[in-house]
Amino acid sequence: MLSSLIFELPGDPAPTWYSLFQLYFVLGAAIGSVVLGLMFYFIYKYRDGKSNEPEDIKPGRIPGERSNVKIILGFFSFTAIVLFSLAIYSIPLTNYIEDVPQGEDVIVIEVIGYQWGWRFIYPNGTESVGEVRVPAGKTIVFKITSLDVLHNFKIKDFRVGVDAVPGAYTYVWIRPHQSGEYLIQCYELCGVGHANMVATLIVG
């Protein structure tokens, strides 16, 4: 759709992420506009001088109830149905993005975040700091941890990210199909060097 025209999608799971984001965005924008539109219409229509409605609020008198159970139930079910259908719809997409691919052809690269940089350990044991090279067309799993404080490992162009937690492993996977250089950055405040805690993902 629109987003794939505007943005370059360098590989999976970015398209899945976009389709989900688009769904939320379109639905959110539509509902928001209708609701706010209704609000402005009411304000315009019933503004003072135009409205002949009687005044029901009087000093010294507790106002009665003005409600209609059916309408309230409508509000309730509308919100609930929209939200739960979204939740249910997202489950397979969530599983697709969350489940770490396994198998012979998956390349697992260990990532160690530290104050302030990223170290990568390839399956053959070689290490590199500040950049990681991966082939196009293969599934890459990043197995992420931290040496010191919380970091957040994010490759924004692939729409993936996860916290780097000391003493624990977290995972993200990508399947790049477009060679190029992509920014890896820390997205969790981790001290003075946070803003410069970057690395490069080189696909090719």
């Binding site: 000093p59 939200l83 969530t94 994010k154």
Partner: protein, 780 residues
């Protein structure tokens, strides 16, 4: 007593306990902190205007964002709602004051001094905390952030939690049992309801935070390893912090919703649509707010099933808010809308809340959350909710009640102009941030060129928004000096605050409002209103100052710390003595509407609330124990091996016996047998003392064996939990000494047993906590 300082004298403002004065003090103080937090924001917005800006370096930038978050959330926006709550809630329920006016003053002064303690960190070596307002461990531990400012701001937070705890209990008791005769729950204005929900959330949310900060302070000051070890670490902080952190959003928001409700009713001349359901929705949102917090930890690699459940609970919290918002909007249908400044701000608040709410739903989706976590999307989202919705709602309230508070009308044209400029500025500031949904927050510079124009626009919006507040200050100042008289009820509102003069007299009403059916009747008592004594006392201010000195000394210099401790003891002693002599007694309201709490006095009610919040404190501690023990299941020494079960058992029996003697004291007090009350209390005191002595023996023995506070994590957990419990026992012992003194001084008449009974509730609670601790440490 008796001598009333002049209203405009400094002495009046330092010693007042009147809720309206306290409200005004809250207003000016929160405005001050709003300015501090706002100035910090304008500084770092300027830094971000271009990537090559050089106004703040990385460290200064981190300090600015951290303090901006802390100050705005804890010391500016939420207290601003309590400025209005203090002023308006007692008026709306037809009460003369809050249930405990002196404790209300204590809340205020603790709040002020805790804020100053936090702000002072800018001026101590190492500077202000720079770890983010979320204080994520392990970054916030001494190993990674050794500067004393991090500890000091933590201590300031503990002091603020004291203020909040006292304030919450006060408001709950007030709304529950001080309502005007006939003012049943269903007739309460929405603002009062919203404050009730706010303080209920606070009651449950803040003590686990106290646990979290306490453990952090122990780590930093005494060298334990709760947050540096992987067994506790980031997860322990995450759970304790976000259990508080997410409900905090609703704490900030709820009062604004209440104001919007009242404002809409007044300016549409129609009852709120679905008022009952709005209140039910508020209640369910308050409850759900405690079971969604894990969405803040979606990215930490925790159990996927838990994550999915939490994703659904997070989405479900939007349902009650959906109902509230749609009901507000439907209230405009077939109304007669008077578009004035408060109404505009209320509508602005709804507008911004809907944007903030819809964008919040994105966060509940796990895959979307993976990307937008830690980005400007999140910044935009929560500013729409917490600044947009909450602050605009509070501004609606300020304009709405300004004529009531001052007796003068503000300038309508300037008010509308303020709305227009601030609303436009706000959107220019935060809308671009949604587009920057992949830019990391909390960075002092950035390298991606697409982000430059958006940041630039946002910065301009920030200045427009910030500077628009000059209009508010000018308008309020000018109108206070020379505005037209507003009269009692300029808006034609129905709630009780509009039925008294503007500003109201110290005792709020010259008559007694009585409600029967939907009619409010004013009884003038033949021109002689019930006597109301104004109380003045400097003790709340002194005690807060003494704590301020103590905490500052703990970080800055030892002699100052000792001075602070001495000051605290002296002031507490004075307070204690003035209570023994009954210098500050406010009679129990006799005619008030208090269903279903007819049989509960306000002190007893307050103690029950205290027990709830203390239970949450221990729940936090026991939660920390469980998490750590679960993570070191193989190496944690079993209870009977590490601890002397026999000694612990003897101590348990001793403490349980003291519960029995405490219960006896209540029985004798009810019978009016003061001599036996005295003996029972003395026995309780003796048993409690014995418990503490045995505890000390046990601690010493364990220390000798090398089982010290910092030797291993199980030891740290043991000492902190039993230590906090021991501190509660000592507090209980002080309460017994107070009761004994009162009995000896002949201050208790037969038939008056409220004090002894309230103490009994607290004491049984302490004993129950010990049974848990005994089982957890000695038996398991």
């Amino acid at each position: 007593m008796g001598d009333h300082p002049n209203y405009y004298s400094i002495k009046h403002w330092l010693t007042t306990t009147n809720h309206k004065d306290i409200g005004i003090l809250y207003f000016f103080t929160s405005l001050y902190f709003l300015m501090v937090g706002g100035t910090l924001a304008l500084l770092f917005r300027l830094q971000l205007a271009f990537p090559w800006m050089n106004i703040l370096d990385a460290s200064a930038y981190n300090q600015a964002v951290t303090m901006h978050g802390l100050i705005m959330v804890l010391w500016a926006v939420s207290p601003l709602s309590f400025a209005l709550a203090n002023y308006v809630v007692p008026l709306q329920i037809g009460a003369k004051d809050l249930a405990f006016p002196r404790l209300n003053a204590l809340s205020y002064w603790l709040y002020l001094f805790s804020g100053l303690l936090a702000a002072i960190t800018f001026f101590i070596p190492g500077g202000a905390p720079d770890v983010g307002w979320t204080y994520y461990a392990p970054l916030s531990t001494a190993r990674f952030s050794p500067q004393p400012g991090v500890t000091l701001a933590g201590l300031a937070l503990i002091m603020l939690i004291m203020s909040i705890t006292v304030g919450t209990i006060n408001f709950i008791v007030t709304v529950a049992i001080m309502r005007a005769p006939g003012l049943g729950w269903s007739k309460l204005p929405l603002f009062t309801w919203s404050i009730l929900f706010t303080v209920l959330i606070m009651l449950f949310a803040f003590s686990p935070l106290a646990t979290g900060v306490l453990l952090l302070a122990v780590d930093r000051v005494l060298g334990t390893a709760f947050y540096t070890s992987p067994e506790g670490g980031a997860f322990l902080w995450g759970h304790l912090f976000w259990f508080f952190g997410h409900p905090e959003v609703y704490i900030v928001l709820m009062p604004a919703l209440g104001i919007i409700g009242d404002v809409i009713e007044t300016f549409t001349r129609k009852p709120l649509f679905g008022r009952k359901y709005i209140i039910i929705s508020m209640a369910s949102a308050s409850f759900i707010s405690f079971v969604v917090y894990v969405h803040h930890m979606f990215n930490t690699g925790m159990n996927p099933v838990v994550r999915k459940i939490m994703s659904i609970t997070t989405e479900s919290i939007s349902v009650p808010f959906g109902v509230i918002m749609l009901s507000f909007i439907f209230s405009l249908y077939k109304a007669r809308i008077n578009i004035r400044t408060p109404f505009l701000f209320a509508i602005g608040s709804i507008f911004l809340f809907i944007i903030g709410g819809i964008t919040g739903v994105f966060n509940s989706s796990i895959p979307l959350n993976h990307l937008i976590r830690g980005t400007y999307w999140v910044v935009a989202h929560f500013h729409y909710a917490m600044v947009g919705a909450a602050l605009f709602g509070l501004l609606a309230g300020l304009y709405y009640w300004y004529p009531k508070m001052t007796g003068k009308m503000y300038n309508e044209r300037l008010g509308k102009l303020h709305f227009l400029i601030s609303f436009i500025g706000f959107n220019i500031l935060y809308l671009p941030m949604f587009i920057m949904y992949d830019m990391p927050r909390r960075v002092y510079t950035y390298s991606v060129p697409e982000w430059i124009p958006l940041n630039h626009v946002a910065t301009m919006g920030g200045y427009i928004f910030g500077l628009s507040f000059i209009l508010l200050v000018y308008n309020f100042y000018k109108s206070f000096k020379a505005g037209p008289q507003a009269g009692n009820n300029p808006w034609g509102g129905w709630t009780l605050e509009w039925m008294t003069t503007s500003p109201p007299p110290p005792h709020n009403f010259d008559f007694e409002p009585v409600i029967s059916g939907d009619q409010v009747t004013l009884y003038t008592n033949g021109g002689h209103p019930e006597p109301h004594v104004e109380h003045y006392t400097p003790l709340p201010m002194y005690i807060s100052l003494a704590l301020f000195v103590t905490f500052l000394g703990l970080i800055v210099s030892f002699p100052i710390f000792i001075l602070g401790v001495i000051l605290t003891i002296v002031v507490l002693g004075k307070w204690f003595w003035s209570d023994v002599l009954d210098k500050f007694v406010i009679p129990e309201p006799t005619k008030s509407e208090r269903w279903p709490f007819e049989r509960t006095t306000k002190v007893k009610f307050g103690v029950w609330m205290l027990v709830i919040t203390e239970a949450m404190l221990f729940a936090g501690l026991i939660g920390a124990y469980s998490l750590i023990r679960f993570n070191m299941i193989d190496v944690w020494p079993p209870g009977p091996v590490a601890h002397d079960v026999r000694l612990g058992g003897i101590n348990t029996v001793i403490l349980l016996t003291s519960s029995l003697t405490a219960a006896l004291a209540v029985v004798y007090a009810k019978m009016g047998n003061l001599r036996n009350v005295l003996y029972s209390l003395l026995a309780t005191l003796g048993l409690a003392g014995l418990f503490m002595v045995l505890k000390a023996v046990e601690w010493t023995e364990l220390y000798m064996k090398g089982f010290t506070l910092t030797s291993e994590l199980p030891a740290s957990v043991y000492y902190v939990l039993t230590g906090v419990h021991g501190a509660h026992v000592i507090a209980g012992m002080i309460a017994i000494v107070y009761l004994i003194t009162k009995v000896i001084k002949g201050r208790y008449k037969p038939g008056v047993y409220e004090g002894v009974e309230s103490f009994g509730i607290y004491w049984h609670f302490i004993d129950i906590v010990w049974i848990f601790l005994f089982a957890l440490f000695y038996l398991l």
